[in-house]
């Protein structure tokens, strides 16, 4: 079932729109698309919407920011995942591969441990993610010789495990009554605490990272070839790889600092998008971005509504991601179409 870009984008957009409609329609205050439209229209024209202030509050303060955050985080993680899969010539990698997620997690956990505010936690998460990638990239480049990509991936695994040890240490030292539950909840991934003020620090980096990756999409097919082949085709691989890594890390770190660790999205969504439009990056990346937004929004709605208490988002994405990964392994070394 391989479609043109238009067809793939249409399917992905339908899923995203359905996700938005469902997200607003389900919950303690159900809001129909018509009500949402009236509120949006009223905001644009400046007229009063004639709806209850409760509906407006739910849209602007509670559900709206959460929907926007879910779409942005889903799109950012998915596009970063697709880019990393191409760059590392491995359809089984995800944004965690360069230590971006674990670095950001260690930063955020430190922020919670030192009782910093929301911005402090986000800032540290962001710095941690970027520092981890720079460390992995630096060590990987210093250990030149042999397969550069393999060295880089292995370095990512090693650094990631060291960061995991750091997180474990802080959990061990943390106050078991106040800090440990917060750390644990954050590590499981959640969008429940999203407020309108969280959107700006998320919006900028995710959009910037996604934009750079989309701009480079025409060269990414050739970049997914063995390095010497790509260079012989005239691809300045060093420069472009650095740009892709930086952009994908930016999107990942911003997502993790806003929503905690949400695994598997960057692995699952690019494969679903490949199923729609095939592996060619000029079609794959735009489709992945839109599909990723819809995918995470649907899962977040499920996390919010399936039980009396909210289920952590990271748990749901893992429950869906793990069997998906096993199915992928089963067909490994066949074609990744």
């Amino acid at each position: 079932m391989r479609q043109s870009l238009g067809g793939g984008l249409a399917v992905a957009s339908l899923i995203l729109i359905a996700g938005i409609a469902i997200a607003f329609a389900i919950g303690r205050y159900p809001i129909s698309l018509i009500e949402l439209g009236r509120v949006l229209l009223a905001k644009i024209t400046g007229e009063p919407s004639a709806l209850s202030p409760a509906v407006e509050t739910v849209i602007w303060q509670i559900r709206g920011p959460r929907v926007v955050a879910a779409v942005l985080v889903g799109a950012g993680l998915s596009v970063a995942g697709a880019a990393f899969q191409g760059l590392f010539r491995n359809p089984l990698v995800s944004p965690d591969i360069l230590g971006a997620s674990s670095g950001a997690a260690l930063g955020a956990v430190l922020g919670i441990y030192f009782s910093l505010g929301v911005f402090g936690i986000q800032g540290l998460a962001f710095i941690g993610g970027l520092a981890a990638v720079i460390a992995v990239y630096g060590i990987g480049s210093a250990l030149r010789g042999g397969d550069t990509i393999l060295v880089l991936v292995l370095t990512g695994v090693v650094v990631g495990s060291l960061l995991g040890a750091g997180i474990g240490l802080i959990k061990y030292l943390a106050d078991p009554y106040n800090q440990l539950p917060a750390i644990t909840f954050w590590l499981l991934g959640s969008l429940s605490a999203t407020s309108p003020s969280d959107l700006l620090p998320l919006l900028g980096p995710v959009l910037a990272g996604t934009f750079v990756l989309l701009a480079l999409r025409w060269r990414m097919n050739a970049m997914s070839l063995p390095e010497e082949e790509a260079r012989a085709l005239g691809i300045p691989t060093g420069l472009l790889r650095a740009a892709v890594v930086a952009a994908a890390t930016l999107a990942t770190a911003a997502s993790v600092s806003a929503a905690g660790i949400i695994g598997w999205v960057g692995l699952v969504v690019p494969h679903l998008a490949r199923f729609l439009v095939g592996p060619s990056f000029p079609r794959l990346l735009p489709t992945t971005a839109i599909l990723g937004g819809g995918y995470l929004l649907l899962i977040d709605t499920l996390a919010r509504t399936m039980a009396v208490v909210e289920v952590p988002l990271g748990i749901l994405t893992a429950v869906i991601g793990t069997p998906f990964f096993i199915a992928l392994l089963r067909q490994a070394h066949r074609s990744w179409s």
């Binding site: 359809p91 025409w218 060269r219 050739a222 997914s224 010497e228 005239g234 592996p279 074609s335 179409s337």
Partner: protein, 253 residues
Amino acid sequence: MILEARDLTVGYGSHAVGSGFNVAISGGEVLALLGPNGGGKTTLLKTLLGLLPPLEGEIRLSDATLAKLSVRERARHVAYVPQVHSGLFAFSVEELVLMGRSAHTPLLAGPSQLDRDITRATIERLGIRHLAQKPYTQISGGERQLALVARALAQEPRLVIFDEPTASLDFGNQGKVMQEVRRLAADGLGVIFSTHDPNQALRHADRALLLRDGRTLALGRSRDVITQENLRALYGTDILKVGAGGEAAFLPG
């Protein structure tokens, strides 16, 4: 002269793999690199492609020094046909050939109509139009090699360098690919290929460079340098000659 290399020392970092190479190739000419494994064939090929800097000596193109060109400029002069690989992502043959236009397209731009036309024409030329929309991962080894040749041609190079073009192909496909090699030369391109098969070099190359242990054992017209005596020295084993003159062939042992 399309490419001329003088007193070339090749290798990785500070480790020299071979030295004293003199390679020159003109348009319309096919040069074979022949020799045992570990003799420096691949290192020399990569150096001629500009993927490895020469440790000593200089590689000159007709109007420039290879080392001074950017990656993109280099790709417009010299194209590379790697050994057939299985591929990872199931790009269609057309998408694969379109990658050959990378060096002609601005870094952030998609393919122009010209790029698409050239892609279509090279696919046509290699007689693989029926494969254009098929995934590269689902066609045969011989078809993959033709697709890789089409991609190199789409680069519009003056020199095409093959790394063991028939290494994993069956007998019939070996012939097909070598015919394409000759056709490239007939159209005025320079062609260099490495091979394990003396008969292939004898039959399809105008000149041959025999290399062993990083040194040139012989360089000259194929039928002059591919002799029983030279092959014995090259492979360090007995070589049987069958036939004579232009029909001669060599068997190991």
